[in-house]
Symmetry: C2
Subunit: 546 residues, 2 copies
């Protein structure tokens, strides 16, 4: 009777001491539980993605030291853990992305990853040579196929990215079960995809799969956990919880004969909510910060951002500034005060009008009688940004950015103004989903004043301004943006779906010419399959659809 | 007698119309010259690097249309041009990075690239499947090996990145000569490396190489041209000029029997100077802008940036603001006025003191009696940034950033303040090289007032502040930074070279904890082998050497 433990942990990139201590703690726990094998995630020891830290041999040596400590802790248990290993062959990349199988103080096997994701946020071929051999591990009479993340993903795709299939390589050797160490990031449709892939693999190979994922955020990339044990009869034996650390121990015999199939219900808005809360929490925790500051405008974006921050850091660690101008409506202040009181957070009102006039006066010799234009609009947004940064610098609060994905896409925001901040909380959430998040937050009690949700959106940078003056309705805008950004459809494909040609071309052009703005904005917590930032790499001086 | 023309051109990413027209123009020219073959660069038709535009099938269709137009222009001449092609096999990446050989309105051969650089700024394996076959083209009795950029680079390296060598594959088929279509970006030591590689190839294969490169900047990536024709006796038959478009036609017989070896002298500072001028020029030209604005502080960084801008855009298109505070020294203004007059550029003086006090007053209820600290220092830098942006928004000038690489490395700059701007001109130039650039600019006549070069550097954000209060001397700082950033040495390796342990650890920590700042800064013109930005990908929440 074999017992297999899965540790779904929140690692911290480059924090070898912290990660090792967490791993050793769970090895001890698994020994107490009588586990035969305990499994950790892909590149668990160094955290994922380590990016160009991998190019430092000092970094690799630190990782090797950690493996040595784990080896010494393996008396009486087998440990499966991910770490980079050095490629001994001169030709090819210097490293492999490997899974160690360690038991009784011996490294019994090191299996390299074969399928190296090099798309979206992934750069694995930048660092790693793909595996060229596939050997099962024999342990306590069982034959085990060790796989790393993507290695189980080359199945059932219409357009496979890879020319080989690691599990086909193993299949001829008749494994008893498959272990998969993953670092599979969240997007609101990805948990379903994972379960589909696991099911397709079990259907094909008829053996159980123990799939262990990371949990926790590394800047913008959020790992959602949701580790899974699949029975060979293609049912979900267990789906571990999402967005929290967890550890569970499974009896292989029970998994083999089980017939239960319990899949957790998935809800897009709930998942996004939980992902964003975890994303904010880990950004602060991993950087050693505790307090944030947000500019509360009276609009829905800053309101939703503030609720998330309050849930992530606690209301005592959230401070907001209300910064009215001559163009601000009375209700913007009232609504913001009400929201602050509902949340129990500190708020201050700092007027920007005098500072604005001071700038106008100093610039008067240069501007003369030229009419009010975007220069004056942006001045207001930038004064607000500066005030937030000043409080940040004085008291150590980190500014949270409140831009949403729709406005980031079309450049409806002021660089160094409302686009400032260390982290963009809802920068990968379309405006229509920001509304859905607000409704979700209010489902049990009114946290966000109803008026914030129902009033027409406005930047309030000139009299009676409304977003709809210069942008189409968000439900149309967001659909076109999603087809272009997530769907990578061209103008003709989008127009063919019935959208107005002139509008489509205008929006696609806006997205492309605003690449320079997005280049300089904070990392945005990634919740979709295609977020701005490291996963979407676009030229700035390009002239395409622009 | 075969004549081969090389067109070293400045392409524009995604500008199919512009690139095609340039290519067609040079085909016509080559026909007049009686050339048998005319060669263009790697991915010339779409520009390099096209990045994620390649994921849009609309983009690929536009490229295919361009190839069709080139095919129709091939009566009486052979055209060799780079473009993406669709991989017809279901497995693997969707595209190849290919060289077309087109003649007499027929596509005679399409050779795919085998070695796909996926390091530093390169992401080719993100998009392309590597070639798996290598066939010579037969044309007018000659056997030609077609190669794309990196394909000739797997030779003579101690630690080759790739497991195959395309030229070895061709060698058995006895080619008469090698054509190489490149998009090989500038760094101040790269032209020498290219010539070394070309020599190593000719020494091994004993046939001439016609190597044609791109010229021109695509945002931060600068192509320097310097196309080369190598004779089979391992001499440089011709090295085309650097940093300008050029077109030349060669007689194969003469190349075969020639014995001349003329290598252009290389000078690091001259090359950096020319690269930066071209970088600024193309950023503006390709985005359709003409005018820039710069904050002139009286320091050497903004002085050097302004000279480069003036040479790139013409003095009539450069405007500067002098923005003294209560901490500014008298000479800062005088030196800046003198520089402006030397260059013949428009300057205005806008004082920041009143705006600063206005902020202080509004923040007084929050700040109370707390002592002057980084909040007040950054306020000043940010007021200056805002003034530049206001003029930018009012008149259409693009703000040029003046940060150097040393300060970007250690975070000695204010986010949204002196770190603002659309393009960082000297952000990949260490401070010690900024001084060398200033001396170089002054070699024929004093453009930059001597006092700007000789006075001790200071941010002037508090009384009597000097850079040396918080940073080591730049000659030590820059050496440590270069070992860490370009050299990718760890702390132990650097300390082993004799640098102070405490200092090394402090500097490496500063570099790592300031990743969040660099994430939000403008693209910096790349002149070194390891610039901040797209070629150096670091985690923000990492905890390594920090």
């Amino acid at each position: 009777m074999m017992k297999i433990a899965l540790a779904q942990l929140n690692y911290h990139i480059g924090n070898f001491e912290g990660n090792l201590s967490k791993i050793l703690g769970h090895i001890a726990k698994a020994k107490i539980d009588g586990a035969d094998i305990v499994c950790f995630g892909e590149l668990a020891l160094c955290g994922y993605p380590p990016r160009d830290f991998l190019e430092f041999s000092d970094f690799i040596r630190q990782s090797e030291k950690g493996i040595e400590a784990i080896r010494k802790a393996s008396k009486g248990i087998a440990i499966v853990v991910g770490a980079p290993t050095v490629n001994p062959v001169v030709e090819g990349k210097d490293l492999y992305n490997s899974a160690y199988f360690i038991a009784e103080e011996k490294i019994l096997h090191v299996q390299h990853k074969a399928l190296l994701p090099t798309y979206d946020i992934f750069d694995e071929y930048r660092y790693f040579e793909p595996a060229n051999s596939f050997e099962l591990v024999e342990y306590k009479g069982k034959k085990i196929a060790l796989t790393v993340c993507e290695d189980i993903w080359n199945i059932g795709n219409e357009n496979p990215l890879y020319t080989i299939c690691p599990l086909d390589e193993y299949a001829g050797q008749n494994p008893d079960f498959i272990l998969n160490l993953s670092a599979s990031p969240f997007s609101y449709n990805h948990a379903e995809e994972r379960i589909e892939v696991l099911k397709a693999n079990v259907a094909r190979y008829k053996v159980p799969i123990f799939y262990v994922n990371h949990v926790g955020a590394q800047t913008e990339v959020i790992f959602d956990g949701g580790s899974v044990v699949m029975s060979p009869n293609n049912t979900i034996y267990e789906e571990m919880p999402y967005f929290v650390e967890d550890y569970r121990c499974y009896n292989l015999d029970q998994v083999l004969k089980a017939n239960k199939n319990i899949e957790q219900p998935k809800d897009k808005i709930l998942e996004i909510h939980d992902a964003l809360v975890l994303g904010v929490k880990d950004y602060f925790g991993k950087l050693g910060f505790s307090k944030c500051i947000i500019g509360l405008s009276g609009g829905i974006d800053s309101a939703v951002t503030t609720v998330i921050a309050s849930r992530a850091l606690g209301p005592q660690n959230v401070r907001v500034l209300l910064m009215p101008s001559q163009f601000s409506s009375e209700h913007s202040i009232n609504d913001s005060v009400e929201l602050s009181k509902n949340l129990g957070i500190q708020y201050d009102i700092v007027k920007i009008e005098d500072i604005y006039h001071c700038y106008k006066q100093e610039l008067n010799p240069l501007f003369g009688d030229l009419p009010f234009n975007i220069a004056e609009e942006n001045l207001q947004a930038r004064i607000r940004g500066m005030l937030l940064m000043a409080v940040s610098n004085k008291f150590g609060h980190i500014v949270l950015n409140t831009s949403n994905k729709s406005e980031a896409a079309v450049g409806y925001g002021t660089l160094y103004g409302d686009m400032c901040g260390g982290l963009s909380v809802i920068g990968d959430v379309y405006k229509t989903d920001v509304y859905a998040l607000a409704r979700f937050m209010n489902k049990d009690m009114e946290v966000i004043p109803e008026h914030i949700i129902t009033k027409p959106p406005s930047a309030e940078l000139r009299p009676n301004q409304k977003d709809s003056d210069s942008l189409p309705d968000y439900d149309i805008l967001d659909k076109i943006l999603e087809l272009y950004i997530e769907g990578r459809q061209g103008p003709n494909e989008i127009i063919a779906r019935g959208y107005d040609e002139k509008l489509v071309k205008r929006i696609l052009r806006l997205v492309n010419i605003n690449e320079f703005k997005r280049y300089q904005t904070a990392p945005a917590l990634r919740v979709s399959s295609k977020a701005f930032g490291m996963g979407r790499r676009m030229p700035i001086v390009g002239k395409y659809l622009s």
